[in-house]
Structure formats: structure tokens, C-alpha cells
Symmetry: C2
Subunit: 675 residues, 2 copies
């Protein structure tokens, strides 16, 4: 495959060589940067929303150390949800006509900020206002909005988003719950065990109504999955006739959210219960839809729910920032082992291995924050337009899917590393890290399993987001690729002009210049292009020589996932470059080095690929390792500044490991500062 | 550095090239292998002990789904601990003279098996009998044994192992608690906040006595850390005078264990309270020790506590096996997405990405099991000898440290992957995975922080386990290396003759033969040798050109850790090869492929190094990826057999995801099989 392309891209083949270890020298950073300068860059376009959220959080009790049983936690979280409703938190995202502010971006950002506090509250809010309310808003029509949106905002009506079933989670198109139109009404039914709605938030305790996704059957004909409003509890909280509700019981985390299971035994709901924006049944029992192609209709419906994924990526980012702040602050206070020759003990963050655990993760947290900011902006602006071409909507969905996967995996790994970096103290619930880990663990699963999401991203890249291939099976996809995929297009998402300028200024690179932004951008673009084109070549075989398309696709699955990952890496880097563009003088140099660490630690983790494909020489690969070490050393004195830049409200960080002091007489009045 | 050595090792430089992707073809496996054949290989030398443990577990209630508050969990675990005591579980490891069986290996294996059940019980047993009882046995003398060992076994006396302090965990030599000899008694005192004993198991609720590690001061002179028996509660459970006890409160997991903090305010204990095997104070107040060198004395004391580390590695292995069994069984039952062309849905374990999540981890679980078996054997046999040279004891300690680190990190990563592989179902406490993850999370921290342990391993390799360098500082170590380290010795630990035979048979290899065991062994040996020699060269600089030795050592810390890791990899592979040697015909072929997957997925994860150092050509590295994929495909039909080989008692696996079935009328009598 190299042979095939080598001729085409001499430049790309050439960017690899040169630079030796001993040539890598970093100029020391100007000393202190004001964390406030970093906060301003991070807060970006939604600074007022973020600052308002920080103020609102003053009332929020720090979630550390909770252990009450599940029922107590659920009660407390519902109570806090009511406080949020009173404060008008939910209004941000709902339409003005119904008392909202219609600020999509702002609502996603407020949600993200909530993630700095109690993640059960975050998820409960997401279920009620994002998923339940969001589905009514996006899939329903004026009659539903008028009837329900106010009640949803005010919590007069608590509801569920009943999509996932025990038997079908990722494969939503094959849900088994049925909604059959009979005599002017829909009959909702759970025909088999695997069709029960599972893991449904608000179902076990608080929900009165559910948006139920089911196969719509009219006159014996199935029209695919549609959503209907189904009452599940009466005003006394008793299950409605024909509805069986089970409690999912305790979970690894998020025990403040009441997840449950729903079974429907021929439950009748009126014709108007159908959320009918994309498909309706008239009084004569005739089905109609503004979108003829059933697959396209289905994907359009799902597409309107994109906000959930964007929000989860933001929430994961908030949890990572909290964990990193705790670990960095402990790493500076905690000392272990004498420094030879001196009588003093070494702060553990001075150890290279400790820096390696935390600083690349911290750099990536910055990178993902900026990428999230770009994504929210795109979502907000696209929502503002009247006419949006399908492919742009699809591209946005693809970015949301990719960033959700990468951000939630990053949260899982980072919080785990922070827990370990805090040793035994990190294992105490009072220090928040165990709960952060447990609560965010399922983020990689819900709102779309990460592996499945990355496949969607790769498919989008292969098909250039053309809606009319959404209903392609694997074979169709392979055919499409065979016929229409010529070469990978690198569509820059952020800082287009800056990137173009950087690359032009650099001209034809003759060596790998690890700290040259242009080289870094080229390295990511080149990798994405090469991986995607290689994948396309592999898939063409599915269309040719009669191979079993499933086998071909499955054998290439690691290649498919890699194509999606490297694409997201590139988008994330572009967002970081855009942020460097807009930040004040004061922060530019420091953030530039953070960007270097993000890029080089990302390449380091994947450097085998760069070596295998002649993008890095062995000598340059070794220089890369040294440079990552040097960047860690360079940034270590600024680690505290970098986490302070997140501006997490202090009372949320007021935990024992942050209060840790070494000395003091344990038998004096004020005891056990650590306790 | 390549240049330097290239001339020396033409063979090693040559083992890299050749084999192309299309040449990698795997012969299909004979079909069914009886899991019983695997169980026999896995049970190995301690089969009777393991089988007895499985029988004993029938009474053990499956730990899934527990949510009672912390106090309830503690009470239940204590009750189960008493049942274990009644059944004679603790006798296995204690001396015959005091009613034990004196079977060290058997006691470690019984402990490991306990890890298949409730991990709080595992740790509580480890604290009481392994740490508290073990310290009395190993550091005390006949007078202590006679007084306490029976009570410890029978739980008439519950105790703590009070080593770790808030300020010093890894750096035990610098503990701050003081034991000052005054007028015929020792005064135990906590002089500063950071000197309080922290995270101490059995301290918050049940412990009556503690083995307290403190700086021994006699006549104003400090003799370093020694251990003393200190009563902490009276028979009514009230703290003794001068002893303050705090509860560490809820933790990320292991909430059945009552961890607490201990403060001592000038607590007097008699002279006989000193565990005096390695240091004593006579009636005249004169200190004496059989070991003059204080550093050597200290390391000898710590060395006797090796059993704890060996046991934790085993417990981590049991948890990984449970998680893998649950995930593989769910992966076979759970289906998602149609297989194009057929009307059937695909079992998720048929997806390459899913196989990649689980099968290399499963292969590694096998490898680590065999390495653990070798380690327990070495521990058992060494313990049986009268005279053991220090260096052999040190080598054993090094292997225990290395395997503890690698096994516990593997558990953390594997259980995490299994949780994600089970999606939402994996997040329900009822399915055990969340608790397995939470309970084992601290295994990477306690009994020695993994990063610190790997440094010990590397130091041992550099100094060839020569005790008289234990007290070398970094500078001394560097000097020692400069003067005495010529080249890395590869001391084979298991299957010595087989390996020698394999390597001889292979002769001078001319190409990388990925599936050739001899090539695999050579690749691991070669990597270890090269990494260690490179590290030695780096450290020599610390002795030369007046560089700050701490800086030199710290700048090389990633290199230090890598040296330890690749050493452990090699030892683990040798153990696997030894197991292949002794297993029945029936299992050989299957286990051989499992070994291939362990080796190649390990090399794959580190293939950048092999590429950077000319050990693999880009073409061979790509072939490696393909071969790992093919091995996953090849082993997938045998995945169930492989986990069944662990022979985990069925009632411990009787959880919803294992009972999962797709069909059935939800409104029939037997409801919600998944619930």
C-alpha cells in the first residue's frame, strides 16, 4: 500500500526524517501565567453562561462522600433537580414561545458545567430535560409542545426516554416494542422479554410519562421506529394499567438516578400520542410522512437527538477536569522519598513517571475542551439556520459521535490514572475520585456505545455524509466506496485560514520538526488521509471477488475504528489551533506548549503506525519520546496554573487530599486535617 | 546505542526481517477441548487445595448486588471471616507447632481462590491472617508465637498491620511514628499529623491489637523501623488509653473492610511487645540485632512480608478470571445487528473489535496464572530450605513485586474492558462487574504502589540482587552500575531445559517467525537485555560528569519502568512455556495458540520499540497485527472453553447477564429472567 502511494506523495514521505534527539531543546517558559487568562480562553464564547453556572453552583452541596442507600440518593437528587427547575436552569434550551430562552449552545454549556458537581444530578437533568423534553420538542409538533413543554421544564411532569431495550441498544432500528394502530388508537405492546425497555432513567421512581420508541404498524404495514407519549404512572405514582415497572437496582454509579424497566401489555394511547413531526396517522388511519425514504426518515429522527451526545461529551470533560485538578494539587503537596544529598522529600509530581501519568492527560483535557467548544458552536449555529443540507447535519452528527467516544474514553482513563496517582487517599470516597470514576464509567456506553459510534464516524467519512447511503447495507457501502470513493478529503473544521497560512509558510517540509505546528498538522492530516484511503481499498474487495461483505467488513473493523480515531484527533488539534489563535498574549506561549504535549503524546501512543508507514524514522521516534519527557518537565511548574484555569468552584474541591498538610500536633485542638 | 551493539549481535539484528502478511496462515484448531483438561493444567501442583477451596465456596453467598450501608457490609464480612476460621481456612499457612499446617504455598493458593468470591472477605482475611498474623510469625519470636498465633487463627484476637502513615506509604524507612525505650518500656507516639497510621484494615471496628511499625529509639539512638505489638482496644471494644481511632469512612470499594486511622499519645507497652526476631532490647536497655547493617536489617524485615504481595497478585488474577468469564459468556449470548443477507443477528463476540477487547486479555490472564503458579512454587520451596542466600531471597522478592504490579494493572484494565463489553448490563451491580472493578481498584496501590514496585525490580536487575547495595542511594547505585554492570544476564526462571532445547533447535534464526516459540522467546530475551543494558549506560552518566544523580535517575524513570516491565514479560512467557510442557496432549494445541496470542499481543502493544530498534521490519510489524487478528478469530470458538477452564463455582456466576435469554413472553408466569 505504501508502494501504491509513495509516488503520489513525496512530500508526505519526506516529512519524516531528520531531527536528532540532541537537537530537541525547549526554551524555558516565561514564568507565572495568570490562571484567569486561561479561564477566559477556556470559557470562550459562552463565558457568561459558564460564569452564571459557577455562581449557581454555590448552593450545590459538594457530592463527596455520599453513601446513603439508593433511595436516599434518589430523593436527594430529585430535590436538587427541583431546585434547578426553580432557578430556571432548564429554560435555557427550550423555545421562547413556551417560556424558554431558545439558546441551544448555552443549554449544552450549562449542562456541561453541572458536571463539575454531582453527576447523578447531571444525568437526571439530562434525562428529564435533554432526552424526555428534547424528544417532545424535536419529534413532536405544536400540539405536544403546547401541552407539555412548560410542565416538563417545571417538573410538573417527569418523564422517561424509553428507547433502549434489553435486546436492542445500539441497533435501534430493530427495536421489538410494537405500536399498532387499531380503531383510532395505538396499542403499545412488549411482545418478548427482550423487548422490555431497559436502563431507563426516571422509570424506577419518578417518571409519569415515557417517550416510547416502537415499531409503528398501521394497517398491517410497518413504518419503522417512531416515538409515542405513553403515561406510565398515575398522579399517585401507581403504574398505569397494563404497564409493569421494575427497578434496575443499584448500579456501579449514578445511584441518584432511578433506572428501571418498562413492559407494556397492550396499552392503548390516543392517536395524538404519536410524536408526529416525521410521521403521522390521520383520522382515517392513513400513514404519511414528509420523508419518503424510511431509512432516511429514521436517521433524521435520530439526528434530532444529537444534543444528548454533545452534552455527554461535555459532562465527561467536566469530570476529567475535576479529577485532574484533585490529582495535580495532591501531587504538589504530597512528598515521598528524600532527594539524595538534600534533606528534603520530593513532591511526587516532580517524578517523571507521575508527570507522565497526569500531564499528557491534562493537555488532552485542554484539547478536548476546545474541540467541544467548536462542536457546541457548530450545533448552535446550525440550529439557527432555516435550511440545512442533509450532509452538513450528518457531518455534525458524525463529529458529535466521534467526540463523545473519544471524550468519554479519555474520562475513564484519566480519572482512573488520577485515582492511582493519589494512592490510598484516592480510594477514599471523601476525596471524590472513586465516585467520579464510578459515575462516569457508563458514559462510554450510553448515548451510543463508543465502538458503534466510531463505526458511524468511519462510515460517514467513507460516504462523505451523503444521506442517501444511510440505508446502504455493508455490501451497498462497499459498492458505494468502490464506485465513488476516490481519495480522502480533509475538510478542515476550525481555524481554516490559520492552518492554511501555517502550511503555506512551511512550504515543502524537508524534515520532521516535532515542535513545528505546521508539521504537527500535516502529520495528523497525512495519517488520516492514508488510513482512510487504505480502508477504502480494503472495502472495495467486498464489492469485488464475491467475498462475504460481513467478513470483509469485520476483518477490517480495527482499521475502521482507527480511521475514525485519527479523524477525531485531527479535528481536536484544529480546535486547539483555533483556540491558540484567539487567546491573549499572556496565555499563548504556555498553551502552545500544552498543544505540543497533546500532539506529541498522541503521536507517541501511535508512533508504531508512523514508523510502519515511513512517517517517522527510528531516530525521530526516539527524539519524540525525549521531547514528550522534556515537555512534561517544562510544564510541571505550570501544572497548578493549568488546572486552576478550569476555575472549578472551590467548595467542590474542598476535600481532604486538597487540604492535606504534613505537619501539626495531632493532639492539638484542631484534629486530623486529613479526615 | 544501536550502533554500539550492532556489531555484537548480528543474530539479534537479524531476527527481525522476512515473513510477509500473506505468509501468515494459521491451521485451524482441532475442535472441542474438554475444559476439564484446561482446569487440570491451571490447577497444577495445588490442584487438591484449589478443589477443596471450590468445595468450601459452596457456602459462600455470591457477593453480587450488595448495597447495604458500610456497617452492614462490615458486619457480614466479619461473620463470614468467623466461618472461615471455624472451617480451619487460616491453619494452612501457620506453623505446625501452633496447630497450623505449615503449608505456605497452599495458604497463598487458598487465598487466591477466595478472590473468586467476595473481595472484601479476601482482604479482611489477608489483613488478619496474612499481615497481622504473618508479621507476628515472621518478625516475632517464640514468645509471641506461643502467646498469639492460636488466637489469631481462631479470631479470638483480631488485629491490624499498622505500617502505612498519612505521610509515608511507599517510603517505609522514613515512617515518623516513634517507639522510644524508657524505663523498661516502649513509648509509642505520633509526633505529627502525618505520622498517624492510615488506611489500616481492621482498625475502624474490629481490631484489638496492632503490629505498629515505628522508629525504634534506644538511649537516644535510632535503630530504624521496627515492629511492636500495641493493644488498641479493650475487651469491650473501647479504644485503649492514649489511642485515638478514626474511621476512614466509605471507600471506592472493599467496604466490608473497616479501614481506619490510629494515633498514639505516649502509649506505653512492655519491652516484650517488640517483635524481636531482627532486633531486641535487653533488660539493661541495650539494643542488639543479628544483622549489623541497618539497611540490610530493614530490607530483611520487609522481605519476610513478601507473602502479602504474592497473595494480592493471586487475588487480582481471580477477579480478572471472573470478569472475563462473565464477559465472554455474555458476548456469546448477546446479539446485535443483522448479518447482511442472513436474517440472523450477530453474537457480539463475533465482532473483531469485541474479540480484541477480550481475547488478548484472556490470553494474558492464562499467562499470568502460570507465572503466579511458578512464583508460589518458588516461595514455597525457598521457605522450605534452611539456608537461603540473600540474593535468592531478593530475586524472589523482585519477582513478587514485578508480578504484583503487572497482575494488578492487568486486573484493572481487564475488568474495565469487561464492564464496557457488557454495556449497560455490565453497569448493574447485580452482574458483579462494577463491584469487581471497585474492589480491586486499590490493588494497584496497596501492598506497594505498582510504580514503586517496578523501580525495585529494575534496581534488583541492575544490582543482581546483591543485598549489600540495598542501602545505596541513587548515586551509589549509579556507581555500582558503573563499576560492576557489564551486560544483562538473562536468568531463566522456568522451563529452563525446554527453552534451551527450543533455542538450540532453532539455531541462528534468519527471519522473524512470529509463530515460532523460539523466536518469541528470543524476542523477549533480546528486548530485556537491550533495554537493561541501555539503562545501565544511561545511569553511568550519573557517576560521571558530575550530573545531579537524582536528575539523571528521574530523567530515566520511564526507561527504568520499561526495564522492569519487559523483564516481567519474559518471566511470564517462560512460565507459560513451562505449563505447555506439562499439560496433556488434549490441551497442548489450544494453549499453544493462547500463548501465541499472549506473546504477539504483548509485542504488538510495544511494537514501536521493536521497530525503533530494528527488531521488526515495517512489513513484519504489519504482519503481526494481522496475525493477532487471525489468532482472535481462531480462538473465538474456544473462548467459552477457555473461561470454563477456570472452573469458577457456578453459583458465583449465577447473575442476570449469564442467565440472559432473548425470547419468552414477558407476561407469562416466570418473569424478567434478566432482572
Amino acid at each position: 500500500m505504501d508502494g501504491l502511494l509513495a509516488g503520489k506523495r513525496p512530500v508526505r514521505r519526506k516529512i519524516s526524517y531528520g531531527r536528532k534527539v540532541d537537537q530537541v531543546k525547549l526554551s524555558p517558559l516565561e514564568d507565572a501565567v495568570d490562571p484567569e487568562a486561561l479561564r477566559r480562553v477556556l470559557d470562550g464564547r459562552w463565558e457568561p453562561v459558564r460564569q452564571a453556572a459557577r455562581r449557581r453552583m454555590q448552593e450545590l452541596r459538594p457530592p463527596a462522600g455520599e453513601t446513603g442507600d439508593v433511595e436516599e440518593q434518589r430523593a436527594r437528587v430529585l430535590e436538587e433537580l427541583r431546585r434547578l427547575a426553580k432557578e430556571g436552569y432548564p429554560r435555557q434550551g427550550f423555545p421562547k414561545e413556551y417560556g424558554g430562552k431558545g439558546d441551544i449552545g448555552g443549554s449544552v454549556i450549562s449542562f456541561e458545567m453541572l458536571g463539575l458537581g454531582d453527576l447523578s444530578l447531571l444525568v437526571k437533568a439530562g434525562v428529564q430535560w435533554g432526552l424526555f423534553g428534547g424528544a417532545i420538542q424535536a419529534l413532536g409538533t405544536e400540539r405536544h409542545h403546547r401541552l407539555y413543554l412548560r410542565q416538563v421544564m417545571d417538573l410538573e411532569l417527569l418523564g422517561c426516554f424509553a428507547m433502549t431495550e434489553s435486546g436492542h441498544g445500539s441497533d435501534v432500528a430493530h427495536l421489538e416494542t410494537m405500536a399498532t394502530y387499531e380503531a383510532g388508537a395505538f396499542v403499545i405492546h412488549t411482545p418478548v422479554e427482550s423487548a422490555r425497555k431497559d436502563y431507563i432513567g426516571n422509570a424506577a421512581r419518578d417518571g409519569r410519562m415515557a417517550v416510547v420508541f416502537a415499531q409503528l404498524i398501521v394497517g398491517g404495514e410497518s413504518h419503522g421506529v417512531h416515538a409515542l407519549l405513553v403515561p406510565i404512572r398515575d398522579e399517585h405514582g401507581r403504574p398505569c394499567p397494563g404497564v409493569r415497572i421494575e427497578d434496575c437496582g443499584p448500579k456501579g454509579g449514578l445511584n441518584g438516578v432511578d433506572n428501571g424497566r418498562l413492559y407494556f401489555d397492550h396499552v392503548r394511547v390516543p392517536r395524538e400520542a404519536l410524536l408526529n413531526r416525521f410521521g403521522d396517522v390521520d383520522a382515517e388511519g392513513v400513514y404519511s410522512s414528509p420523508i419518503d425514504n424510511p431509512a432516511r426518515r429514521f436517521f433524521t429522527m435520530l439526528g434530532t437527538l444529537i444534543r444528548g451526545r454533545v452534552s455527554i461529551a461535555g459532562g465527561a470533560g467536566s469530570a476529567s477536569k475535576t479529577a485532574l485538578t484533585l490529582a495535580v494539587r495532591y501531587g504538589e503537596a504530597r512528598r515521598q522519598f528524600d532527594r539524595p544529598g538534600t534533606g528534603t522529600e520530593v513532591p511526587i509530581l516532580d517524578y517523571l513517571a507521575h508527570q507522565r501519568k497526569l500531564l499528557p492527560a491534562l493537555a488532552t483535557a485542554y484539547a478536548l475542551h476546545f474541540a467541544q467548544e467548536e462542536l457546541v458552536t457548530a450545533l448552535h449555529d446550525l440550529h439557527g439556520e432555516d435550511e440545512v443540507e442533509d450532509w452538513r447535519q450528518r457531518e455534525l452528527e458524525s463529529r458529535a459521535a466521534g467526540l463523545k467516544a473519544i471524550s468519554t474514553w479519555h474520562a475513564t482513563q484519566t480519572i482512573q490514572a488520577c485515582r492511582e496517582a493519589c494512592g490510598g487517599a484516592g480510594y477514599l470516597t471523601a476525596n471524590r475520585l472513586p465516585q467520579l470514576k464510578a459515575d462516569t464509567d457508563v458514559f462510554t456506553t450510553f448515548e451510543g456505545d463508543n465502538t458503534v459510534l466510531l463505526q458511524l464516524v468511519a462510515k460517514g467519512l467513507l460516504t462523505r455524509f451523503q444521506h442517501d447511503v444511510d440505508d446502504l447495507g455493508t455490501l451497498g457501502l462497499a459498492r458505494f466506496v468502490a464506485e465513488q470513493f476516490a481519495e480522502a478529503l480533509i475538510e478542515r473544521t476550525a481555524a481554516r485560514s490559520t492552518i492554511a497560512r501555517l502550511l503555506t509558510a512551511r512550504g515543502e517540509p524537508s524534515e520532521a520538526d516535532l515542535l513545528d505546528r505546521a508539521w504537527q498538522l500535516q502529520a495528523f492530516e497525512d495519517r488520516e488521509k492514508h488510513v482512510l484511503e487504505g480502508l477504502a481499498r480494503r472495502l472495495r474487495r467486498a464489492a469485488s471477488d464475491g467475498a462475504d461483505p460481513f467478513e470483509v467488513f469485520n476483518d477490517a473493523q480495527d482499521h475502521v475504528l482507527r480511521a475514525a480515531r485519527v479523524h477525531v484527533d485531527r479535528i481536536v488539534l484544529e480546535a486547539f489551533v483555533a483556540a491558540l489563535d484567539r487567546c491573549d498574549e499572556a496565555a499563548t506561549e504556555l498553551l502552545g506548549r500544552v498543544c505540543d504535549l497533546y500532539v506529541l503524546s498522541t503521536i507517541e501512543a501511535d508512533r508504531a503506525w508512523f514508523l510502519e508507514h515511513g512517517r517517522l524514522s527510528p531516530a525521530t521516534a526516539k527524539a519524540l519520546l525525549e521531547t514528550v519527557n522534556e515537555l512534561c518537565k517544562l510544564l510541571r511548574p505550570h501544572a497548578r496554573t493549568l488546572v486552576d484555569g478550569f476555575a472549578i468552584p472551590p467548595h467542590l474541591l474542598d476535600v481532604p487530599i486538597v487540604r492535606y498538610r504534613k505537619l501539626g500536633d495531632p493532639f492539638a485542638a484542631s484534629l486530623s486535617r486529613l479526615a
